[in-house]
Symmetry: C2
Subunit: 628 residues, 2 copies
């Protein structure tokens, strides 16, 4: 394999300690409420017990082909949590679940509770639909996370054996199946396994799955025919749904099921990073461009359509009917994070931040107990978080993201330390051959002042790269209290010097309330603005507003004021001001009337961070507000 | 039965001759293109041949349970056409198809090609899902239409036997099934059969189906259990989808599948009309109110949701994702027409007109060859009329509506002649014991001037009731050239006098271009206007406009001018003026930008009647235009 080409690497989760007023309390709720609760739900819904392989035809609660992946994501979340917050009881519980998983493994290494128990003769006969490699991928991610958190090889060894088995089944070599999964995931997981073990077999296997995808003769056709089915009768017969309509390097357009797409592109970026494959990198750049220029919600959400949980056409971004699955938004952050390491360009961090602070965080309620699967940007009042889902991908996905936020904050290269996100706490980076401690103090995202103290183990010359967010139009930087020259290179203010113990940098980002417009090709947002302050996108929620929030018009000149409300949902900045509301009085109770009869009245509005909506009294909500 | 209570009756189709520039050419296309073509499609898709009962298990093209209804609606359309435009060949073709239908009838009177051929043991075992009585209803409507057009009893007698059979199977009497159809239709059909034959048995049966609906124990539960199924596992387990969640007199909210709902309410109005049932009339009024005050598109379309082809919540009227099925819009016109006869209130005619001139007519292309099933109020450019549909309810439905437009124009009572719609041509009414010929001369809907000449066989005293449309804010009336006093009573200008041969009334309705607003609770229309002139709702279609039509903003003061374009799609009034379009230039290619960066430019816009869109180059379309 050629040399890897990523420009930097994220800091290990264990090297980052988050201690701030924004993420730390959310990580705590995740650790103390969400993770235990999701274990209980995996248990009570049969997901854990499915691993006992005791189900028999005729018994109720037949295991489902997704179950392993839900348990795996829970293990991954719990492992990340253990990495930053050791807990003996959780450690023990993980050991128990891992023992169950290990007991599931067949002598040949195969490991899937559904097929082993329910359909043992159907192994690897329907990669298109049955999520078999998808489940394997999540188990591998879990194994790597558990190994890195605990140093234990108990799950890692099991999954290496399974990966070895998969490698013996799939590939271009004579006698192997030339298959790949209908739901991408195993590709990025195998790169993680490669990085954790150093075994190039896993990287080659990841690359094989990526390279093979979409080739002709089409594997989904071949295996459907082998099952005696007409492949053309499948609901997604052109395979765009699976991003398998073309070889991945020929794909220029983001299509199909959004979670699958984002997991695939993440795996492509990983393989490109490790192999230096330029054609793969170019495909990633094209797909990134299509995503962010045409198919991204202002909340950092993706996948507009309910039908097929899929991307729509360019600029097809409906608000009320947005699908914007929590998993897709998380997966977009994954893709962004990987592209960021490859390209050292803050444009990736901008999208990563937009997703994490808005469309990802909205996925879980403030109490850590309820979840959005679907994240619309407007609601008539009927959309609410749920305890759990039959297809329960989102709740453990957000749990693993929250438990691993530390990984997204910094990166380091040979010669530079990067700060991508402004999150109070400490970190330990290895730069220029030295260990460098970094301390961030900030009240971000509620204000834009950040103080970073640098403590190298000995004076060290390196670049400190501080992201100047895309939303930020004015920033100031000082070093030890003095203005400092810091050219902005691909979105990062670069301070190049020999750093001494206690050097302090202060970054001050101006953070006014901004009115954002969408490209006029987004028909659903035409004549409307969204409110954003720093990375936070706002919404009007009914319980804060007397006027029906979807009848509010916002004059361009209306003054909007940001105010920190420490009592609201753990403390947040709200945006308040004057606006107009269309009154129904002129209609005389009719559905349609002469436009001249409608009148508006002055109202006060209060907007809250989008991610915090639906935590109080149920009601209507809107992100995009018509201009008066 | 108590005495009937309707206030007036529509004129018979054979008593109305349409000779104008608007409907006559459309009726001609319907007669010469659509009806022959639909026969060919019924033939080539196996709908006609299914009546031969030759299908056997193992053969391809298994007949479908809807097939009889499609053929029936074609017969109904062809019969109406024959009533106004006798054609020997069509008459003969009808005789052939009717002979086939008659040959399908079982000795006991039962008549359904699907059950007889495909599933003979399942007769009347799944009324909820299998459309058995629905097909019967359409056949009955066809039989009545054929009888009234031709005087032949060939189909009528067959359907009387079938109706007698149905009456022997269903009812409250011991030994009968207490069932009713999951898809309402037979109720209104049986009232037609009663009116055509005078046989009260059919009216009683219609009333039974209406009265029984939604009662407990619920028949759909009972029959599901008899089939060994769990009724709770049905996708529409609460039966709102079928308007069977409550007895109809307790229903206050318009819910579920829109076509079913409108057919049911039409049947309820019919039964109320014939029986004088006040509680049923009150239910009809409530359901009418909920429809028109909360759930009606400005195009006269109903049924907002794709999911379940159903009504949404109050004010849930999305534009691009509107379902607004052609059949539902037609069925709304049916309901309106019935309520109009009952209540003599022009508010019903207003909605009937809104539907007929907009959301109904949009259902068929200008060439009579392509059909909308779904009638959205905005499109990104991907929505187009189709040749036919697997579920082909809409094409023959619009054919029967167009062939019978004459029935909607006038009504007569003992003492009054009503003009509901302004359509050039002649009519013959029986009023005040006399035969009165009426001649309308008008270029409606393109202008608002109407001349009506009255020719009673002898001088006759009666009220001439001329509808003053709800959209009309200024009208003038003259009688024989002199201003005349005509109080407006429930939306009708009443001229009460003794009419002499040649008396001429001139009605002049002012018809400016109007900006219409929706009630501010319609979130999707907030800050937007629709353009309407007379009864015609306009849209911006891309092929008429340089600026992207969905990026157009319309200043309140922009002057809009109506102009008759005789070359456009057979001639129509277009609306032109100045507007603004948001330019993408300020975005710099980004999806989101500071609202201040977006600029607008002055553009000319041209709007065409909504019903005429998608007859030229495919492109985007919008009805509701944001205000600048």
């Amino acid at each position: 394999m050629p040399a890897p080409m990523r420009k930097m690497q994220p800091l290990a989760l264990t090297d980052v300690r988050i201690a701030d007023a924004f993420w730390a309390p959310r990580i705590q709720v995740n650790r103390t409420v969400t993770i235990p609760r999701e274990y209980e739900l995996c248990k009570s819904t049969g997901r854990i017990d499915a691993l006992k392989l005791q189900w028999k035809p005729g018994l109720p609660d037949r295991p489902h082909q997704f179950y392993d992946s839900d348990v795996a994501k829970w293990i991954e979340a719990a492992s990340y949590s253990l990495a930053t917050h050791p807990e003996a009881e959780l450690d023990k519980l993980l050991d128990e679940v891992i023992a169950l998983i290990a007991s599931c493994q067949r002598p040949d290494g195969y490991l899937n509770s559904y097929f082993t128990c329910v359909d043992p003769d159907k192994r690897w006969t329907n990669l298109r639909d049955m999520h078999e490699l998808y489940c394997a991928g999540h188990l591998i991610e879990a194994a790597v996370a558990h190994f890195q958190a605990t140093g234990k090889r108990s799950l890692l060894d099991v999954l290496c054996r399974y990966a070895d088995h998969i490698d013996s089944v799939f590939g271009v070599e004579e006698g192997k199946k030339r298959g790949y999964c209908g739901h991408e995931e195993v590709e990025l997981a195998l790169v993680k396994l490669y990085r954790a073990t150093g075994n190039e077999r896993y990287l080659r296997l990841a690359k094989y799955f990526i390279d093979e995808r979409g080739r002709q003769p089409h594997y989904f056709d071949v295996e459907a025919q082998a099952r005696g089915e007409d492949p053309k009768k499948h609901r997604a017969a052109d395979y765009r749904y699976f991003q398998a309509h073309l070889p991945v390097r020929e794909q220029a357009e983001v299509v199909g099921h959004a979670v699958r797409a984002m997991y695939l592109y993440s795996g492509m970026a990983d393989v490109a990073a490790e192999t230096g494959d330029q054609t793969l990198l170019m495909a990633c750049r094209r797909l990134w461009g299509d995503t962010t220029k045409h198919k991204l919600y202002v909340t950092g959400a993706v996948g507009a359509r309910h039908h097929g949980e899929a991307f729509g056409e360019a600029f097809e971004l409906p608000n009320e009917s947005a699908y914007a699955e929590t998993c897709a938004n998380i997966a977009l952050a994954f893709f962004a994070h990987r592209m960021l390491q490859l390209e050292a360009d803050a444009k990736y961090a901008d999208v990563m931040e937009r997703a994490m602070y808005n469309g990802v965080l909205s996925g879980v309620g403030a109490d850590g107990r309820k979840f959005f699967y679907v994240n619309p940007l407007a609601s008539a009042g009927g959309h609410h978080r749920q305890d759990w889902f039959g297809c329960a991908c989102c709740p453990p996905n957000i749990a693993r993201l929250l438990a691993s936020v530390g990984m997204y904050v910094y990166s380091a290269s040979e010669s530079a330390a990067y700060v991508h996100l402004y999150v109070g706490g400490q970190a330990k980076a290895h730069v220029a051959g030295k260990t460098v401690a970094l301390t961030q103090e900030t009240n971000y995202p509620w204000d834009g002042d950040v103080r970073i103290t640098v403590r190298p183990e000995a004076p060290a010359k390196f670049d400190l790269m501080l992201r100047v967010p895309g939303w930020c139009r004015k920033h100031k930087l000082t070093l030890n209290g003095e203005p400092v020259k810091a050219p902005v290179v691909k979105g990062y203010a670069r301070i190049r010097r020999t750093w001494n113990d206690g050097d302090a940098v202060e970054l001050s980002m101006s953070m006014p309330v901004e009115r954002v417009s969408a490209h006029p090709s987004v028909a659903d947002d035409i004549g409307r603005v969204a409110l954003q302050r720093g990375p936070i996108v706002y919404c009007l929620e009914q319980c804060d507003n007397k006027a029906p929030v979807r009848a509010v018009l916002l004059p361009d000149r209306a003054r909007l004021r940001a105010r920190f409300d420490r009592r609201l949902l753990g403390g947040c900045v709200v945006v308040e001001g004057g606006a107009l509301a269309v009154s129904p009085a002129g209609c005389g109770g009719e559905l349609y009337c002469d436009a001249g009869c409608l009148t508006t009245k002055r109202v006060r509005i209060k907007a809250i961070p989008y991610f915090l909506w639906d935590n109080r009294k149920p009601g209507a909500m809107t992100v995009w507000i018509p201009r008066a």
